[in-house]
Symmetry: D2
Subunit: 343 residues, 4 copies
């Protein structure tokens, strides 16, 4: 299913080397000011070009096809498309015979019986996170406006993700060297992103199936290359005692919403029983190292039916996690825009 959400709903389409990729947003309320230039900042944060990212550089210009009239959303489905221009499809000819380790080439072939578009990973490509970023921009606008309205401007919505570590290194001053080294070895690195969302009201989420954690994790694990998601203390909570992990309540709440007393510590990451408690949401996402590496890998040739030495064709990120904080933010905003509509 290519759609996510219950009231604010996001559908994506397109392939890495197809003509266009895009997103249809359903359930966008009318009257939100929106134009193509609103997307520039976040799209830029996802763009490649910096050290550790792929030399495939796309214009990534959003084009609003529907749902906006005279500068405001109409309430009808909002469609945003991006043209693919800088594609080199010749690179991907042999991927059915020798599926790239770590990629979806093999599983796509099993699932779609060879009919999938193999170029650049087709619909499985990380390029599909571009329309996600666009959807995130709209979601952030909805949230900022809703929060501001409901609190008469007293509370600001804030959704910020940043890279905590690359290749296990937490000190950003050492990242450049690590990237250079990995690139030299023809290898790649992973990373961990932390996201903090502040300003959202207490009471979002549903008991059990649609707990805030459930819906957020659902969206976050949809980002290609995610291996783990944790909230608040996360895996460390399993090693704590109840007296250490519990967030006791106090009148001087972090959340600061008028009349709401929130916990002053935030071990739970902003929710209890799957419902937001007014504290900031805090969660971390683990990204694997880029699967495409220059280094030779020993893998199976399904056509020749024998093991073979294999080098991944195409242009790739040394550490695609560098480009993911804005995608993580987008997913958080998409989920919360839906939950705030339902509440």
């Amino acid at each position: 299913m290519n759609t996510f959400g219950r009231v604010f709903r996001v559908s994506i389409f397109g392939e890495s080397h197809g003509e266009e990729i895009g997103v249809v947003l359903d359930g966008v309320e009318p009257g939100i000011e929106l134009s193509e230039k609103d997307f520039a900042k976040d799209i830029d944060r996802r763009r490649s070009g910096a050290k550790g990212t792929t030399p495939r550089i796309e214009a990534d210009e959003p084009h609003i096809l529907s749902g906006v009239y005279e500068g405001y959303t109409t309430g009808a489905p909002l469609t945003i498309v991006f043209r693919n221009t800088n594609t080199r499809s010749g690179d991907y000819a042999k991927l059915k015979d020798i599926p790239r380790p770590g990629h979806a080439d093999f599983t796509a072939n099993v699932k779609y019986g060879g009919f999938q578009d193999p170029r650049g990973g087709g619909h499985f490509s990380g390029r599909l996170t571009l329309p996600i970023v666009a959807a995130g921009v709209v979601a952030k606008k909805i949230l900022a406006e809703t929060v501001s309205e409901e609190t008469h401007g007293h509370v600001q919505f804030r959704c910020e993700a940043r890279l905590m570590e690359i290749g296990g290194i937490a000190d950003p001053s050492k990242w450049d060297a690590a990237l250079t080294q990995a690139q030299k070895e023809g290898d790649s690195l992973g990373g961990v992103v932390e996201c903090v969302v502040d300003g959202i009201p207490a009471g979002l989420g549903e008991p059990f199936w649609d707990s805030v954690e459930s819906v957020l994790a659902h969206a976050l694990f949809a980002i290609p290359g995610v291996r783990g998601v944790e909230f608040g203390d996360g895996f460390a909570a399993a090693r704590m005692k109840g007296s250490e992990h519990n967030d006791c309540f106090t009148a001087d709440g972090i959340g600061g919403h008028e009349g709401i007393v929130t916990p002053v510590t935030n071990h739970a990451g902003g929710m209890n029983g799957g419902i937001t408690n007014g504290n900031p949401l805090v969660f971390r996402v683990a990204f694997k190292p880029t699967s495409s590496i220059a280094k030779t890998q020993r893998t199976y040739d399904f056509a020749a039916q024998e093991m073979t030495d294999f080098q991944v064709p195409g242009r790739h990120d040394t550490c695609f996690a560098l480009r993911t904080p804005v995608i993580v933010e987008a997913m958080a905003a998409i989920v919360l825009a839906d939950l705030i509509d339902i509440a």
Copy 2:
């Protein structure tokens, strides 16, 4: 929303201290042999009574209300209920004034405006995992039958979760002492559960939104007290290099499905691009320490509007993670029974 799934759908209802709790299963195929006794083993694994678990012991007898006729499922909605008997509601009178730290008392009150059933956590109670276990039993039956049919009995479906650590201790021989100590201190412990699912076909899951990881994580984070979920190498993958983390292909696949060549390593935990690759699914779930502790906690009294010393009333697990492996299995089976129906 109290329902999960697209074709095999699970709805739960009930409150901890209400008359009955139950589950409605939709999309169960007809002709599966099923009776109340099929639930005994898994329900027993969830039951309390052992060291570290609550002294509230329930009969937990499943009663099939609909959807089974002459010993076989009919294809109509399958309803299973459990009667609540051993309830002590007097314990929970003051929870609106002094919400228990770590529990949903506060957030439920915000969300439901004081109308929620506060007794034992009401609909937020861990007791609602009992119908989940029942749903898991049916899901496992569906999967075992489907896998066996499709592979002519060559492959067996297997779904097994076990506790990997308690309170940060990986050696089971030391758990008893740790539980005794925590209990003595009036404190509680968390734990980590690992689940392995074997025998499922390659090709399950959808690109992006309904990746296997997304749907599994959605269900797993619905279990009360989960703080983190990771697949394969999980968070450790973020510290590995691509050449270490990639699963290269080989003719001697672990999966062993006829004609399918699967990766011999399993760093990804059984999926690529969100689609199962024939390897066993492997994932871990972090459970927080039990929130209800005997130890006095300093928290806020919303009625008196001042800080207060607080001791949690009621009977509780020292380490509820002890009871969760069968719940984790149930969630995995519920998700896979749905994905296998769609594929």
Copy 3:
């Protein structure tokens, strides 16, 4: 799928001759006063016993299993069950060999491969409209409260269905004779029900897929035995000219909502472009004659593989349409309670 609705969601379960039938309502807002006695009036309207209805009389006593605490809805799933008592299952033994003409015996057998519960139509029985009526009672309460709140008591929600004709006869004074005659002939009659819903705000429904007509028709055609649904002028509209059928606007609107100018005629039945316009909703539902008749029918014996004379066993309504107005109302209320939640 046994569930209907997006935010206010209705799931039904059970079989005609099973132990219990029931309904789970999800998305019910907290704080609505509700007890078992609220259901009495509508359940009574559906009950058999009058001329033209089956002699199978059930107690039909609703039992609230979950979702209500101290007399008010909690916001958690609301479960209502009914015990089946007056069942005579011996009647239905041969229905797999000789499926009853007009019933689901044949199609259920194809779909469920013989595993369906054949007693009294099993899950296909009209008895499943009893939990629908219960759901309708809750939906009406939600609507009445919402409309009254939003209009500060100026507008009352009203949802009333009545039988317009039986066996093609519009004059109620002649119905008794027609029923007597049909019963004497061992035959059955159909009927047409008209429903008017007043007091709902303009703006409900969605363009295209979830037009008010679409969602209402979806629910109405779920009632067993419905053959047609029409809105406003309905099929007659196809024979009118635009100048006759258009509802022009006027300041003296029927709808009477403050500040809203609605059409003074109501050919469209209360909606334009799939969205309510403030006029009363008006629609009609055609019910077929009861399929179970005493008269001998010439049909096929699938066991003997030959044509046979067949008389339907069991006890039945001469005109089940007599019992449907309250079911039609329930469906309208269920749909509108969902649409008003989304708007």
Copy 4:
């Protein structure tokens, strides 16, 4: 919600006078041969230009944006767009002040607070049925292939709708005169379309909520201008006796599927208990007369707050029902492609 379907899912977007309109199809199986030229025939049947249809003529050239690779569907979301070229937006300036009777101008304004795109009805325009026709072409292909495969070519899928009457006239030889007369009067006509679907297997549909009738009616009432839907004998069934309306079974079934004995009469229109019985599906759809008429209408000016004489600007069909049979077919195919996927 702009999406319909559970497994085969159809999302539409765009506005009458926007840049492009389109459809995203999700759940399309891989390996179906598809190119732009496959759409020509059905699009042509919907096109205007004939007597009684609007002089706004569009190229209506489909453009496949994603989901097809080297001439075959890939299994990824299939996006088809159409460029709007022949638009005259100046015509629609005053519709917020004087909403066109019978149109969605008024209700859209209530629902979207004035932010809707008013040009040509915006997202409410009948032009959105163009992507529906495109979706129908894909659905028909899926059905034809599935039916042929499952019956080894013995059964052909057939889905044919035709106009039964215009302005109440059943004799086609008299339609031309009626259209001429209506046009002369500046008025418009409605019509009734009948659709027959043959070749589909018995067993499609679900009991209650997703009965075949329910899901078909849901889709059919989404077509702008539909006032009624009836199956088999439809409203006439309400005037028949059970002995006349029941379809008895016989060995010489109409359906003709090997080994399936279907009813020889077809009063029910091809289903029992909401499940297809192997007989052809037969249903009728009533279309209102075109709302836009040249004739002066007396209606309300919301800006001037007084009644006014009003003439609808723009170019319109005298009888848009003329263009609907292919849309009705498309809706039937869309629904059945989804139901056949679920079964």
